[in-house]
Amino acid sequence: MTSIASTRSRAHGSPETERFVPGQPDMWAFVLFEAFVFTAYFTVYVFSRARTPDVFRQSQMHLDLRVGVVNTLLLLTSSLFVARCVQAAREGSYRAATTNAFLTMLFGSVFLVSKVREWAMEIGQGFTFTTDEFFSFYYFLTAIHFIHLLIGFVALAVAVRQLTSPARRSQVIVETCATYWHTIDFLWVLIFALLYVMR
């Protein structure tokens, strides 16, 4: 039962020797880089917003906050499942890991559908990319996030491919894919706060 012993020791303020980088360090470099790029986008948004707050606030009222909250919960849940996937794989429970990976995809897919429906609803009410500055940023941020999410599905597919064959099952690759997925999650958390909540 050494794996349980070592994982438990990790939970209790691990000794330095137990520390590990989840997945490829290369993916972490990418995650940090993308995070900074998104911070740049967010800054442009926040600055533009603060300069003409009334226009932004008026337009923001046409977004449905409840949809935003539901979408955030969907991605948080998907992150929970991919984290469980990584842990299951680490302990050799590959069937459980695969199930969790598919659950991640399920919640991610529901998010995609929800997002497209939200766009359709906004467009149906006449709010398009060029309606005003707020909507330009809304569509831009949600669309670039959407594209990242689509890439996330590719990452999950790679993870599933690893998990389903005994010849592969690289823990590093599974963790790398999970790291990418969590990034899409936390970027959305920020986008949600900036588009739906901030005044």
Binding site: I4, T7, R8, R10, A11, S14, E18, R19, F20, V21, P22, W28, L32, A35, F36, T39, F42, T43, V44, V46, F47, S48, R49, A50, R51, P53, R57, Q60, M61, L65, R66, G68, V69, T72, L73, L76, T77, S79, L80, V82, A83, R84, V86, Q87, A88, E91, S93, A96, A178, H182, D185, F186, V189, L190, F192, A193, L194, V197, M198, R199
Partner: protein, 98 residues
């Protein structure tokens, strides 16, 4: 699956979800109110979001168990993002357009 870890993940998820639902209440506040209240809502929205992000990074992404450097780099990003967003908001408020 190791029960301790499984439980921890669910606790984290519950905490994040609860904060999100609380933001539903905050976000429903009418935006036509005074600037001071709007600034407070904005600042808290950004800070709460960054707290959630840091929790995701440290718990879901397992940076808690990663070498200290990675923890510092991600914390650096969180702090910088907070500073730059709040700074951008203040700067934009100071230089309004039209």
């Amino acid at each position: 699956m190791n029960a301790g870890f499984e439980k921890r993940l669910i606790v984290v998820w519950l905490a994040l979800s609860t904060i999100t639902i609380v933001q539903l209440g905050v976000g429903s506040i009418d935006g036509r109110a005074a600037l001071a209240r709007n600034s407070a809502i904005t600042a808290s929205a950004i800070l709460i979001a960054l707290i959630k992000v840091r929790i995701i990074i440290r718990e879901f992404m397992e940076v808690r168990h990663a070498p200290v450097l990675l923890g510092r780099l991600t914390d650096l990003w969180v702090v910088l993002t907070g500073a730059v967003l709040l700074g951008g908001y203040l700067a934009g408020t100071a230089f309004p357009k039209g």
